[in-house]
Symmetry: C2
Subunit: 438 residues, 2 copies
């Protein structure tokens, strides 16, 4: 009998937690965000919870430094250190395809794969903000379509660079050759965006190729994910939206000639866990209460394009015009409408939801109730697992590992020990042969 399908879990580590006010809590790690030991501790916690991987986002502009931490350590250097504080858990770094060359990216990821003994994943992004472009010599971000064309070529070159050393190329013979020159081959790439002769300076990574993650939301993003991603970080605020995304992506993966069953689709998940539902809600309410109201309402005003400064924080959200009558940016507004319709929040609760993971699924409750909802998503074509976005670090990660993981394990949904030593192994992915499509 084949092994039962298993959940996959990443721990998406971000600042003092994904809630915008997490750093304001008494005792928060706000002062430790440049301290690698903080991240090592988090990675060890996630490894104790048998997570597939830790996951780092990345950005190339500083953002609003007043409102809270956004970036600090560069993820590849941070993950190299964390590789040595852990032994099994995967290490996923976001690397943008818009600013560097594929040779740089392929080389660092391959090096990190060697350092970690085969535990590296690459979350491919094309970046977003003009402020990022202006740190790398561009006047503004290239148009969306051009970014995705470049990303496609960037990924293809990286894959070929990882294949440029055959698996058996490096076989030091003390009386002969260190490596077989016939098995270390140029890639000879010349395309619209890149020229790369190769081979890579780094022998083939332990995983063959680091695991490709993608977070495709737009059409071109989903197509890029369909062609290349081995795991997907999805955005879905509710079950129906997640099912729709899941079905659409599986269609695209199949259309790209690949096996949809082999690609783990992992929506973001913001979870507040308590021994009782009331305790969980109290954790959420406590951090929501730390949001500076004026600033949050001013941000909300731009999201809903009306003046919210007079709204009563503890009253229900006033009625909002339907999407078709809204003139501003649709994505965030649609999320707000959906949260209001399904959760009937107070204004403060809405601000809290938006401040923690934005449009991502939020679960608040007991370990059993959260495991119920995870299982529901997992069994109803909405998720193969989750990219856990702890609203409060380290607390929410501790809670999930100590309280939710054991429930998932008892239900046979999640591993009770690591059975593999590589991230590919955790995800059930085969090691790609040199030259395999990817």
């Amino acid at each position: 009998m084949p092994a039962a399908r298993q959940l996959h879990l990443n721990a998406f580590l971000f600042g003092a937690g994904h809630h915008g006010a997490a750093w304001r809590r008494p005792g928060s790690p706000a002062g430790r965000l440049g301290d690698i030991a903080y991240y090592e501790d988090l990675a060890r916690t996630a490894e104790r919870g048998l997570f597939d991987a830790v996951f780092f986002a990345d950005g190339h502009s500083v953002g609003d430094v007043g409102s809270g931490p956004r970036w600090f350590l560069e993820p590849l250097t941070a993950l190299a250190a964390m590789a040595r504080a852990t032994t099994r858990i995967g290490l996923v770094s976001t690397v943008s395809t818009t600013f560097g060359t594929p040779f740089h990216a392929a080389r660092m990821l391959a090096s990190l794969d060697h350092i970690s003994g085969g535990r590296v994943g690459w979350n491919v992004v094309t970046s977003m903000f003009d402020a990022e472009a202006r740190n790398h010599g561009l006047d503004a971000m290239p148009p969306h379509a051009e970014r995705y064309e470049r990303a496609e070529e960037f990924v293809e070159v990286a894959l070929r660079l990882w294949d440029s050393w055959a698996d058996d190329a490096l076989a030091p013979d003390r009386d002969g050759l260190w490596a077989d020159p016939d098995r270390v081959r140029p890639v000879g790439h010349s395309g619209a965006h890149f020229r790369v002769d190769g081979p890579l300076t780094v022998p083939r990574p332990p995983q063959g190729r680091p695991v490709l993650f993608q977070a495709g939301a737009s059409g071109p993003g989903r197509d890029l994910a369909a062609r290349h991603a081995e795991a997907v970080y999805a955005v879905a605020s509710d079950l129906a939206g997640a099912q729709e995304y899941y079905a659409d992506l599986e269609r695209r993966i199949a259309a790209a000639g690949r096996d949809p069953g082999a690609v783990a689709i992992m929506p973001g998940l913001v979870a507040y866990v308590g021994a009782t539902a009331a305790e969980a809600r109290a954790k959420q309410a406590a951090v929501d209460a730390l949001l500076p109201p004026e600033q949050s309402l001013s941000q909300l005003s731009t999201y809903v394009q009306q003046d919210c400064s007079g709204w009563d924080l503890d009253a229900p959200v006033p009625e909002l015009p339907p999407l078709e009558r809204f003139g501003g940016p649709q994505g965030r507004y649609a999320t707000i409408l959906r949260i209001v319709a399904t959760e009937r929040p107070t204004v403060r609760e809405l601000l809290g939801r938006l401040a923690a993971g934005g449009g991502h699924c939020t679960m608040v409750g007991t370990p059993e109730s959260i495991a119920d909802r995870i299982e529901q998503w997992f069994r109803s074509g909405a998720a193969d697992g989750f990219n856990l976005m702890p609203p409060l670090l380290p607390d929410s990660l501790d809670d999930f590992v100590d309280l939710v993981v054991p429930v998932l394990q008892r239900r046979g949904l999640f591993r009770t020990r690591y059975t593999a030593r590589t991230l590919r192994g955790h995800l059930g992915l085969a090691r790609p042969a040199v030259g395999a499509p990817g």
Copy 2:
């Protein structure tokens, strides 16, 4: 009374050692060059020897993979891991200014400075080979002058990015701001090669700025070093050459308006240490004997532009035409003439000298005799210290740490404990203020 002037020592880690045949020894680490634990062990040895720093070169093309190891792990990721295996020793990475953007480089180096608690140095290079350029979208290396112009601008932008966060910008106030936006300033750079708005995504590094190393040999290289370097990795095969370089660089540093006494000039040093002179020579001869003669003679033929294939390996090097009658590349040929004139080597010994550090100073002898020569260089205007290039790893590093360092310490030339926690501290360099010239 001011503290006596002290030697500075870096351990330049490279493959199985700097000798081209080091990997061929029985028991060599040839099979461990992708294993980060190997480098961690070396760094711990260097730290036990109280070295200022470990030092990594870097290159972007694979070279001749048959003849021996050249590159493997990417240095920034490797050093991030090594930062966690050590507590005091500096960590110097070569980063080229020709292929990436200054934002990428400044960000990674700043991140590594946080991870290591202020122990990072940057060896600024402009790279050399067309094969490297062709991995990063160029047809060939830019001309020498253009590379150095770009390097100058690259370094200036990196310095400004490190200064973009004031030292006191990050002061999380749970009831107010995470960082003071008025103390996190754009750099607004727009030059011939780069446009970089800034600020950096990484708060100011613990050292203020990572320490700048440079290895200027050419005129423009020496000038770049004179304007910016805080420590210099020099090439000098003998005392007279080292003195000449030292005096020239000090002149250029003074001409650039800086204090020559504040820049540590550290020639490369290949050292074979033995309990007796005969034992040291035997170590050298043993590895020289592992050089494949045909291949080495063929390489020598290109250096001296005559057919050496019939030369007797154990006979003295035949007479060579003087430099002024030589039509090929001068640098390497001049080194060969100097080695032949001063050391009267056999052909095999010459091949060994060229195979281990090329034109760098080579010392073979007892701990006392090597300490004598080090002291001579140190006291006669030739060196402020050395970038040790162990011909055999880990053996030659162990020998130096266990046998030579104690002699240097007894003579009061070298620290007997670390008195600082940062690389700047080890080198006696002040922490630069934001906006300081550099």
